[in-house]
């Protein structure tokens, strides 16, 4: 790869946004195609008349006059081209069929009216679905929340006596989007090696279950499922002077953690083993919490890291814009939006021979309709 070429630029990929598809599937498909587009693939996004509904989804980018374009859409559709096709019409489907014959891969959501078309063309089909094929998707409305419940993630987060919690963000959609990207590259690698590419099907529910494998592994090993432990957990969040810090340490990091806090009561035999610490966890946190209370997150991180202790200060997305590490690595790229001006957008989380992949702004609907 030379400095002016991109690793996937020889590939043409079609992303189909059929009408009536649940939002959580749309996000997964869009993320997978966006990664390929940022890596140089020519990604053509097919939108229905009126555009991808994600164009109107929150969070919205504030401009001087109030809410504007969707940040979600901008993030998920960088570096793509867009074409509006009415897939309910004969001519719309004929146009799509012609495009698929000139493309290497097609990402689409299933069930979709165009599924037979997408599966039958020369382009390799990458399907994104909510559920495994055996579950009757037609009888199962879906949402990000329902997938996090079904895959067992919610059972793991929160207090044992209180309601289970969803992990923040669109984690079910995005984990599935990352998976679909990897499936896409496997299919492209097979094609390029002269093999028949496998047909790839990604379901959000299976990805969530796969990500949450320790629940199944724990249940299989002991008969009892792991679950949310809240204030009974070894890892907890404690307040500090300017926010919160996650207390995290491994078994081998306990002596360093104990020495860092420096309270003589932690030398007690009952805290010497993991089992002992778990048994006396409330008392342990009573002893260590005051150490955090009068320190800032920055002080805590610096002091803990110096001793090899992986405490995690909690940052908000706004604070991440100024994080020294992200600034130094150029993780957030400057991107100019035609209406809003300069924005900072996370780039693909990889550097390739020191190079990042700066995204191009998402296509506007006006230009897309012109192209159609």
């Amino acid at each position: 790869m030379t400095t002016d070429s991109l690793p996937l630029q020889r590939f043409t990929i079609v992303e189909v946004n059929d009408t009536g598809v649940p939002l959580c599937l749309r996000l997964a498909t869009s993320l997978a195609a966006k990664i390929a587009a940022d890596l140089g693939a020519d990604v053509l996004k097919i939108e229905p008349p009126g555009g991808d509904p994600v164009r109107r989804a929150p969070p919205l980018l504030a401009n001087g006059n109030g809410p504007g374009a969707s940040a979600l859409f901008q993030f998920l559709n960088t570096s793509k081209r867009s074409l509006v096709l009415d897939l309910k019409t004969e001519s719309g489907r004929a146009n799509l069929a012609a495009l698929l014959d000139r493309s290497h891969a097609c990402l689409f959501e299933e069930p979709a009216s165009i599924a037979p078309l997408a599966r039958g063309g020369k382009a390799t089909a990458i399907e994104i679905a909510a559920f495994p094929a055996e579950m009757n998707a037609a009888a199962r409305p879906v949402s990000e929340l329902a997938i996090q419940a079904l895959g067992g993630l919610m059972h793991m987060i929160g207090e044992p006596g209180r309601k289970p919690l969803k992990l923040g963000g669109h984690q079910a959609s995005y984990a599935a989007g990352l998976t679909a990207f990897t499936g896409l590259t496997a299919a492209l690698a097979a094609r390029e090696a002269g093999q028949r590419a496998p047909h790839v099907r990604v379901s959000l529910a299976e990805v969530m279950q796969w990500v949450n494998w320790k629940a199944a592994s724990g249940a299989a090993a002991t008969g009892a499922s792991p679950g949310r432990e809240g204030k009974a957990s070894e890892f907890q969040v404690v307040p500090c002077r300017d926010g919160h810090v996650a207390v995290v340490y491994t078994v081998t990091q306990w002596p360093a953690t104990r020495n860092l806090i420096g309270d003589p009561r932690l030398q007690d035999e009952k805290f010497a083993t993991r089992a002992g610490r778990r048994k006396h966890i409330a008392e342990l946190y009573e002893i260590i919490a005051p150490w955090f209370a009068d320190k800032t997150r920055a002080e805590i991180q610096k002091t803990a890291q110096a001793k090899g202790v992986p405490f995690g200060p909690i940052f908000t997305p706004a604070e991440l814009l100024e994080t020294e590490q992200y600034v130094a690595r150029g993780f957030l790229a400057k991107m100019t939006h035609p209406d809003i001006g300069r924005l900072l957008i996370p780039q693909l989380p990889v550097q390739w021979n020191g190079r990042s992949f700066a995204p191009r702004p998402a296509p506007t609907l006006e230009r897309a309709e012109l192209a159609a």
């Binding site: 790869m1 895959g151 929160g158 990897t182 592994s217 432990e229 995290v248």
Partner: protein
Amino acid sequence: MTRPLTGVRVLDFGLLTAGANTSAMLADLGADVIKIESGAYLDPFRVVGKMDDDEGWWNRSPQFRFTNRNKRGLALNLKDPGGQRVIRELARHCDVVVENFRRGVLDRAGLGYEALKAINPRIVFAAISSQGDTGPERMNVSFGSTLDATSGIASLTGYEGEEPRISGMDVNYPDQIVSLFATGIVITAVMEARRSGKGAFLDFSQREVASFTLGEEILAASADPAHRLAPRGNTEGDAYRCGDGRWIAATLDDPALDCSTQDRDAAVAALLARGIAAAPCNDGNDLLRDASLAGVTLVRDEQGGLVKGLPYRLDGKGITIERAAPDLGQHTDAVLRELLGYGDAELLALKRSGVTSTTPTVGDV
């Protein structure tokens, strides 16, 4: 059977989930993965999952077995010049290196990217670390939920109006998603190396991968400094306790829902019939019992042990486990004979000098 990565060989220094699972996903696509550990440094999953103190405990960890199936295992001491020499010879026969050591460990052993590239210019070197290979925090340590905190995910998770929450040690969510992305990037670089003969240094920051999942929130904050976020409970719906004491989640416009007179399955069925997205809040045992959810995501190895399957289906199918996770050093001799042509005398010399082994020299790591 020819698979997308047939003919690709991976030198796997991956540990725990982030590294070892990236190599496992490459193995699932047909790559020949040889995992390198040593008696002096085991994959920590062998120790975290310790079941007992009996002889061979290091070969029985469920977490290790889950993540390292379909690999061959070698034990070579990275700190010994003899072990380093053998690994450099192996690198000549490999296409990919996966590692998630703390920054500098492989460089100090003379096994960093520059050293291996000099031996094999087409090597694709995936370095997966907490913070990436550059920047002021490159040497920072983290463990799973550290990155829930520092990536921003925790700031959006929690009961409304209360403190932020992390996914915790039984999930360690940021560790789980890295391989889903890194595997695709490694495959992209392998395609490039097949075409150009040139490899690549791929520098992954796990923290960046986790923050990437909040891309729209970071973008929105850059447009509006007042875009402040805090834990908001369960968005787009909520969790509800049913009559049998078990929980469901439902996406309702009107959050009021009383399912206290129904058991969990009846409550979910009634909501689905009304066209409402709903699901049980499954626990690990529910997941084991659900044959369609577990269909390809969990598999049995030849010894009957439950192991990790695929996150996707290829031609409608999952994978078969061709070999269970290796015992420590199980394939050292076989691989050194096969790839490097070593004979009995050389293998014996390596064993006598402590370069190779099948037992740990450490109790805890």
